[in-house]
Structures are given as C-alpha cells and as structure tokens.
C-alpha cells in the first residue's frame, strides 16, 4: 500500500496536465485540420492546406519572430551573465536582496510594465520629449514603433529568466575549484574560460531556453512597442483567432511555431549541448 502513495500524490498533477495541456493540444491539432468559417461552420477535412497557406502567407512574420527572439536572447545573455556572475560571487551577504530586486518587476503585470515602457519611449514622452525640448535630440527622433523598441521590450521583460538559471549554476561552483585553477597557474581570464564558464553552461543552456521560446512567441511587446512593420507571429495568431475568427489558421500557425521552436531547441541541444561544450572547454 505504502508503495503506491507517491503515485496517488502525483495523480492530481497528472490529471491537471492531462486535462489542461494534452486535451487542448489535441483539440487544437484537430481544429488546425478543419475548413470553413464562422458563419457556415467548420468541418473536419484533415486538409493540410491550412499549414501550407499560413506558412506562405506569414513567412515574413515567422522569420521576423525568430530573428527578434534570437537577437533579444543574445542581448539578454550578454547583459545577464555578468549580473548573475556579480550576484553569485561579489554580492556577499546582500545576495538575496539583489535577487529580490531582480524579481521586483514581476509584482507588476507584464502588460502594464510594457505599456509603461511605451510611455517612456513615446516620441513626446517624459524621456524623449524632454530631451527634444532641450535640443539634445532632433525633432524627428523616435524609438517607439521600431525594431529597437520591440527587441528592447523583449530584453527588458525576459531578462530575469536569463539571469536566474545562470546565477543558480554559478552559485553551485565550488570556490575551491576556482582557487585550484589559480593554483595551477591559470590567469583570471583563463580560470573563467576553462573552469567557471564551462561549469555555468547548464545555467546558460536553461536561460536561453527560458527566454528564447517565450520571446519568440510573445505578442505583447510587438503590439504595444512595435509598429505595423514589427508584427510578430504571436500578433498574427491573436488577430486570426480574436479578430478574424479564423480558428483553423490560428491553430495551424501555433502548431507550426511550436514545431519550429522544438526543432530549433533540439538542434541547439545537440550542437551546443552541455556535454559537447564541456568537452571543448576541457582542452
């Protein structure tokens, strides 16, 4: 009887996953293979033309989303790694305070934070309006509704998800291993490259996954901070579903995105997998 206890305890979670993850995915897959419209009704035709049509029509947005997500992830990595490093090794007893500060923005809703970024970046907003008034910036200077604003928003919103896993990985590095490296004639740079960086790679790996996937699929930043030429695939799904009530197309796009991301992650894991990178660093 006792042996079964863990399974019974896990059951609610399994049920939750089955009902709220598996069922909707299956339902969505089925919807993506229907034809019709809201007025005449949809019928299950198992036609894959929804997919080919969607990819043909929205390839620009697909590619743009992957580029925005990728660029944002690289920027987050470059910005986030030093922060994680600093908190893990240099913050001393104030570590938990800095971690709390990092999470503080999450106490405000994601959408609200993005909207306030919109205010901040507005052409005549507090920041640029004032600077323009002083003549520091030219009158036609603008950031809002550009690629810069959207990628900036993505970086701002997802940065903590890059920092935290890297921090956790760095925190687990035994300081004596770092000392051993210095003791064995390694310079500071060499110690970082050969010891600290490789040992933190699992964190980098997790951080990239946790930021690239949601940033690529995110509709909010493009909607609030972007212009008509910055539309991302998340916005297309939203429009097709909410505005056009074109459920089959919306579902097909979602599935395509999911497939692209999964394949991308798989390639990333194989090519840059922790084991491989560790092997390379050991040399």
């Amino acid at each position: 009887m006792r042996r079964w206890t863990p399974y019974w305890l896990a059951l609610p979670a399994w049920l939750w996953l089955a009902i709220f993850l598996v069922v909707p995915i299956v339902a969505m897959a089925s919807v993506s293979l229907t034809t019709g419209n809201l007025i005449d009704g949809f019928s299950q035709t198992f036609s894959v033309s929804n997919y080919s049509d969607a990819i043909a029509k929205y390839s620009t947005q697909f590619v743009r989303s992957l580029v925005y997500g990728g660029v944002a992830t690289v920027i987050m990595l470059v910005l986030g790694y030093p922060v994680a490093y600093w908190i893990a090794f240099k913050a001393g007893h104030r570590k938990s305070m800095f971690l709390f500060l990092l999470l503080l923005p999450f106490f405000v809703s994601f959408v609200l934070r993005t909207i306030s970024w919109g205010f901040l970046l507005a052409d005549d907003g507090i920041l640029f309006g004032t600077l323009k008034g002083w003549g520091v910036l030219p009158e036609d200077f603008h950031v809002l509704a550009t690629t810069v604003a959207v990628i900036g928003g993505l970086v701002y919103n997802f940065l903590p998800f890059m920092i935290l896993p890297i921090y956790v990985a760095l925190e687990r590095v035994d300081p004596r291993v770092i000392e051993a490296s210095y003791d064995l004639y390694a310079s500071r740079f060499s110690t970082f490259r050969r010891v600290v960086l490789p040992l933190s790679l699992p964190g980098v790996f997790a951080g990239v996954l946790m930021t690239f996937v949601p940033a690529t699929a995110d509709p909010i930043n493009a909607q609030i901070l972007g212009g008509t030429s910055n539309t991302m695939i998340g916005n297309i799904v939203q429009t097709e579903y909410m505005v056009n009530s074109n459920y089959p197309t919306a579902s097909a796009i979602s599935f395509t995105l999911m497939a692209v991301l999964l394949i991308g992650i798989f390639i990333y894991a194989r090519a840059l997998g922790t084991e491989n990178v560790l092997e390379a660093a050991a040399r």
């Binding site: 291993v177 490296s181 003791d183 064995l184 004639y185 310079s187 040992l199």
Partner: protein
C-alpha cells in the same frame, strides 16, 4: 643554489581579518623555515591558524605583516598562479567537467609546456599514483581514495618547489587513511619534493612528518621532530593535544641535583627533571604508557603515587586504568596486553603508580 637556502621561510607573518567591524588576528606572528625535501606538518585544532598560514604560503592570502620566502626569494605579494607551489585541497577540488587526464594536465597546459612533454609527464605521474588506465574517468565516477590521488598527481606533475596539503585525508575512512599515509610518504620520497602538510590529526602528523609545528591560537607552540613533540611536549597545550597526557600539579619539596622532588599527597613523591626552587608550584606531565601499575610498593628511585582504581577499560592491545589520587587528580595508565589479558588490579583496589624520573617533564 647554495644548499642551506630553505625551501620555505616565514618571517614574522601576521594575518588580520576584519570580522563584524573588529580586527581578528588569525595568525599572530609565525616564523619558521622548512628545508628542501622535508615533510613538514602544521598541526593544531581548528581555528589555530594553520590553514591561514598555509594559504599565505600558497598565495591565496596576503600577510598583514611579515614575509613569505620561497627558496630565498620574497614572494609575499606574488599571486598563486605565479608561485611555484601547488596545493592539494581539502575535498580535492578536482575540475568536475574534466576527466582524470585533463585534470592532471591542467597546470602544464597553462604553463604552455609542449604537448609531447605533457603526455610524458602526465603518464609518468599517473603511474606513480597508480592510476594508469583510468585517464578517461570523470572525478564523480571515482572513489574518494582515487580522487585523492588525482588531486595529488594534478599538483605533483608540475614539479613544484613545494607541495601544500590541506587535510587531504580528512574525507577518507580510517583504513584508507592509514593506507594513504604510507602512500604519501612513499610518493614524497620518490619525487623528493618538500611537503607542507596541514592537519588536526596528531597521529597523521606523528606518522609522516620529519618535523611538526604545533599551532595554537595563531602561534607556533612547539616546532620539533615527532619524537620530541611526543616525548617532550614544550607546553601544557602540546602535552594535552598530542596523545593522552597526565597533567599533575604539585609543590617542590626539595631539589636533588637535576631532579625536583614534588609532593602531591602524603605518600606521593614525584621526581622530575627541571629548574625550580623549593616551595614553588610546578606543572608536570607523564604519558600513560610510561606508568607501571602495581599492588605492592615498587623500588626506590622512581616517581611514586598512590591511588584507587576507578574505571578500567579493555582496549584490545592494552588496558586503560583511570586511577584517582588522594587529592582527586585522575591519572590514566595504559598497560600493554603483552602476555595475557589479565589485569593487575580491579576497580576499587588501592594501587601504586610508578615511573622513571626522565619520563616526566615540567611544563611552562
């Protein structure tokens, strides 16, 4: 290089820390020299400053005052990666992402030694530590004893001027620890490198060292070879820390040539070599295995005390008696189980304890 240049020299080394706004002296002024090829131990309880002293030799800490010299050269402010000294860390600190070969080759690669020579030297050292054939293993796939030998090889392969070992056997079980002690001695003889060994385990220090510095409270209490440390402890602390000691306190009754006649109780008479005047109070020490226990009064010329047997413990190779003297002082006596395991006295018996005057020492 002249013969008499010591491998390591500490000259009035002091290390202060700032802890909670207060200056704490971890090392309060240590001066010592360690000869080339010597097996030297820093022995003391935790917090005595031995680890800090070693970290200053390694270069991980800079002394607040004083000099650290390596082969006569001042290296006080030279960082660890520029010092020809390597260290075996407590719990080994092996690089978890590298296999045995890469771990051992790490130092040579940083020194840009030619790849062919690296191959040769890593192979040689792995043979010395008996790890040939395990080059591709990761540290986590190895036992504690094997990891220990990887750590040793990783340091020794660089042929350092001195090797520092920070409680390297602490994580091993007793059997393996004793095996590794012999192993370490053999390796040290084989490579001929100066070993500085930090430990709180007195038996480890006694077994392996050429000389031992016993540290307490940031200072060296005694620096001598193991025999002298054990037989002639220089202070109460050393006597108490190394092995089991009986500490006695009494009044000098008379001075008889080199010997002091010390009285504890009515029928007690202790003869001990030392310098004092009649009427002085002196502390003295005698080891439990130097004492003979008997039910009859022994011959004259020996130190003699009378007491009652309290606890009697059978310990395999010997029996341990706790004998209470009239004034309440308890003396421990070890009696070897040489012929049979029978005991001389039982609990509650009145016994005579005797020992040769030269087996006891007055303490400062």
């Amino acid at each position: 290089m002249p013969e008499d240049v010591p491998a390591i020299e500490l000259d009035g080394v002091v290390k202060e820390y700032l802890a909670h706004g207060e200056t704490v002296q971890a090392v309060k002024g240590v001066s010592l020299t360690i000869g080339e090829g010597e097996f030297f131990s820093l022995l003391g309880p935790s917090g005595c400053g031995k680890t800090t002293t070693m970290r200053m030799i390694a270069g991980f800490e800079e002394p607040t005052k004083g000099l650290v010299k390596l082969l006569g050269q001042d290296v006080t402010n030279v960082p660890p990666n520029k010092r020809d000294i390597n260290m075996v860390f407590q719990s080994y600190a092996l690089f978890p992402h590298m296999n045995v070969w890469e771990n051992v080759a790490f130092g040579l690669r940083r020194k840009k030694v030619a790849e062919a020579e690296i191959k040769q030297r890593v192979g040689d050292i792995l043979e010395i530590v008996d790890l040939t054939g395990r080059e591709k293993r990761r540290p986590r796939e190895m036992s504690g004893g094997q990891q220990q030998r990887v750590a040793l090889a990783r340091a020794l392969v660089n042929r350092p001027r001195a090797l520092l070992l920070d409680e390297p056997l602490g994580a091993l079980d007793l059997k393996l620890r004793q095996q590794m002690q012999t192993e370490l001695k053999r390796i040290q003889r084989e490579v001929g490198i100066t070993f500085v060994y930090v430990t709180h385990d007195q038996s480890e220090a006694l077994t392996m060292s050429d000389r031992i510095a016993v540290m307490n409270d940031g200072l060296v209490e005694q620096l001598a070879d193991p025999r002298e440390i054990y037989e002639r402890p220089a202070s109460k602390f050393v006597a108490g820390f190394i092995g089991t000691s009986n500490l006695l306190s009494g009044t000098v009754d008379a001075v008889d040539g080199d010997l002091l006649v010390v009285r504890l109780g009515e029928q007690d008479r202790i003869l001990v070599p030392g310098q004092a005047a009649a009427g002085d109070t002196v502390d003295l020490t005698v080891r439990p295995e130097k004492i003979t226990i008997s039910t009859e009064q022994p011959e004259a010329g020996l130190s003699l005390v009378k007491g009652t047997v309290g606890e009697l413990t059978y310990l395999g190779t010997y029996n341990s008696y706790a004998v209470a003297l009239a004034d309440g002082t308890e003396i421990t006596v070890f009696q070897q189980n040489a012929i049979d395991s029978s005991t001389t006295a039982e609990r509650g018996d009145t016994v005579w304890l005797s020992w040769r005057p030269q087996h006891s020492y007055t303490l400062s």
